[in-house]
């Protein structure tokens, strides 16, 4: 046994609700374990307890015992434990503190006072596993999100810990970087390293793990092999289930399936191919918007170019967003998506090309005027909250624009579930609640277009469901929406139109089904069709073969 929690409870200093509440668990050498749970279920606290940060770094009350690689964490300091168990933290930026990738990777070994030949050997091994050879002399802060994540993993791997923990490693990765990380994790499994991945999104990793442990309110709520756990009743635990599994549950099939092949086998076995297919086709996943071409344009972009540091980030974007459209903007990290949305409210002004909001050139109007029409909801709500109460935070915009509509704002408070929070400090809220506050603040000025940057990133299932229902209602009311996302399931559910941005150009534009069928464009942007789409295609092929 490599990790053992015996009746562990823990309270952060000054906080009454326990973060861990009588947790018992055991992990054996060589196992690949997924620890799943919604935010606030105790996942990150669990990680900190595994490497001794609790109780040595975070004080507070710890009851019970934690054994890592046979060592009692209470008796051994973080500095003794870190060669036995390593943790890749959630935020890659805050764990890279050296000048070069190489210095970063060897830091832990230098701490141990290791000699140069051993350091060289381990460096070579870890950099090969994490595919960092070509980046060795770069500064970590100039790397992409996926690369930083790999460096963070490498810093731990050089220490050759017997237990490796990763805290929500996929949150900010695009589909391609996610796939790359999965590949690395699989090769680590073959090296015999025990791995614990902490996540609330299951579909990225579920096929690679031996066991799932579900956390709920600081203790184990369910555990076992993936198929067994997911066949049980787990809907109360706020997990983001694999999309095919959800589809099957809606259809009344209980057996859990994780990929398209499994789904086909299961459907054949139960003789459900035809009814399932008919139903999938019947409930068109695609929110249609037949009227869109007739509506007047809200934002028009003509041959928009953007250069930064001598590189062209945007290379001639032509785009018209019409009233009532719900558009998903997709593409790799670094493809220019965030840059593009900054043009939509005048934060960036075109150097070459033209941007018009309701027909007027954005170069001639200040942001403060344009943002009355176009509101942005940023990925990180902490970038904007500064008021003492939630109410004041939401009403900041309307007060500035002198556009306070009490009826509309009260309705927003209700819709976003903010009524019980109005007098609380926005700083004290959970990340999901903060997201809702910033969303409500953006809508409070009744914008003509609302733009959301990665609305679902880092959000657990309950919070994602809330966003889904709010967005659905806005769409019905005819609100024009554009969102940037890597979450194709979310995009397929909401967007009437998909845009793929790749290498500064829009390479696909149409309904989700049309875009997903354009396999070259999808591949170029590192995207894969949703499971639902893949399943429909697979069944279609089967039926064609029969006839």
């Amino acid at each position: 046994m490599i990790l053992r929690f015996e009746g562990v409870s823990y309270n952060y200093p000054g906080i009454v609700t326990p973060a861990l509440d009588g947790l018992n668990l055991t992990v054996h050498p060589g196992e690949n374990v997924l620890v799943a749970g919604s935010s606030g279920s105790g996942k990150s606290t669990f990680c900190r307890a595994c490497i001794g940060l609790i109780p040595h770094f975070h004080h507070g009350e710890l009851i019970g015992n934690v054994f890592v690689d046979g060592l009692d964490t209470r008796q051994h300091s973080v500095h003794e434990l870190f060669r036995h168990a390593g943790l890749v933290f959630q935020n890659p930026d805050a764990q890279l503190f050296n000048q070069t990738v190489e210095a970063e990777l060897v830091y832990g070994l230098e701490s141990l006072g290791m000699g140069p030949s051993e350091i060289e050997k381990r460096l070579a091994w870890a950099s090969r596993l994490t595919e960092l050879d070509s980046l060795m002399s770069r500064s970590p802060h100039t790397l992409s999100g996926g690369e930083k994540q790999r460096v963070a993993l490498g810093t731990i791997l050089t220490l050759r810990p017997r237990l490796l923990l990763l805290d929500e490693p996929f949150t900010h990765l695009d589909p391609e970087a996610t796939e790359a990380l999965r590949k690395i994790l699989r090769s680590m499994k073959s090296e015999g390293i025990t791995t614990i991945i902490v996540e609330h999104r299951l579909h990225e990793i579920i096929q690679d793990v031996d066991r799932i442990i579900v956390f709920h309110r600081g203790r184990t709520a369910a555990e076992g092999p993936p198929h067994q756990v997911l066949a049980g009743e787990i809907s109360d635990y706020g997990l983001n289930l694999p999309p095919l599994l959800r589809l099957f549950r809606d259809f009344g099939v209980k057996n859990p399936v994780f990929d398209v092949d499994e789904a086909i086998v299961e459907l054949k076995a139960q003789n459900l191919l035809t009814p399932f297919y008919d139903r999938l086709i019947g409930q068109s996943s695609n929110p249609s918007n037949a009227l869109a071409p007739l509506m007047h344009p809200v934002v028009e972009l003509e041959d928009l170019w953007f250069n930064y540091d001598g590189n062209s980030v945007l290379k001639g974007i032509d785009l018209t967003l019409r009233k009532g459209e719900c558009v998903a903007l997709l593409g790799r990290n670094g493809a220019g998506k965030t840059t593009l949305i900054k043009y939509l409210n005048g934060l960036l002004k075109p150097q070459r090309g033209l941007v018009r909001i309701f027909g007027s050139d954005t170069r001639k109007k200040p942001v403060s005027e344009l943002s009355r029409h176009v509101s942005l909801v940023w990925q990180n709500p902490n970038d904007q909250i500064f008021r003492p109460t939630v109410r004041e935070e939401v009403l900041t915009g309307p007060k500035i624009f002198d556009a306070y509509d009490p009826l509309w704002c009260d309705q927003l408070f209700d819709r976003f579930g903010l009524l019980p929070l109005l007098d609380r400090s926005p700083f004290s809220l959970s990340e999901g609640q903060k997201k809702r506050v910033s969303f409500a603040a953006a809508l409070s000025v009744k914008p003509d277009l609302i733009v959301l940057d990665e609305p679902t990133a880092g959000q657990d299932e309950p919070s994602r469901r809330q966003l889904t229902s709010i967005l659905g209602r806005l769409r019905e009311e005819g609100q024009t929406i554009l969102f940037v996302t890597h979450d194709l399931e979310f995009a397929a559910e909401h967007a009437s139109r998909w845009l793929i941005l790749s290498d500064g150009k829009i390479i696909a534009d149409g309904s989700s089904d049309v875009v997903m069928a354009e396999s070259t464009a999808m591949a170029k942007a590192g995207l894969r069709p949703t499971h639902r789409f893949q399943l429909i295609q697979a069944v279609k092929r089967l039926r064609e073969n029969k006839t």
Partner: protein
Amino acid sequence: MILLMAFSHSIFLAASLGILITLVLFLRLSLLWFNFLKGLGFAVLTFFLIAWLAFDLQTGIVSGLRLLNIGTVFFLFFQTTPPELLSNGLLKMGFPYPFTFVLSASMQFIPVLIRHARNIRDAQRARGIPIEGGIRSIFYLPAFAGPLLIQAFKFADELAEAMEARGFGISGRSFHHEPRFTWIDWMAVAISFTVLTVALSIRFL
């Protein structure tokens, strides 16, 4: 630097500025240097004017040139010395590791903080908050400073955890690239001392 302080004749100062500018050109740093001058130029001008008005033109020119020289020396030093080498050097001289580490790491995080600051500025401007320019922006200072400070504190906390978990502060640390005093370094020291001695003897003897 000692030289710059010792010499008060404008010709010497102009000559040393010439040498420094040649170095700047030689190291292909001229563009960066011009950007740097945008900041320093104002200070030099003010210094020159004050010294001129308070004393005479000669003192003004000398003071201005001196400041320009010192600024350029600092510029060259930091452009050509990676923070890591600087901190390693200090470490070898006997400074404690936490001190030298903080010195190099804080430079490392400047770009990260700038990125945070830029995101916050964009986020607030997009809400119509006038956080740059104008008298009104003073009222909205918390809109910028609040989120920035809170994120910086959170960042520092997370960083401290990560450093602890990688063994920061354990005694007996080894160094993968151990800095060594090679013959080039001895040569540099010897040349510097010779030049200094010669210059000082010209000035004072």
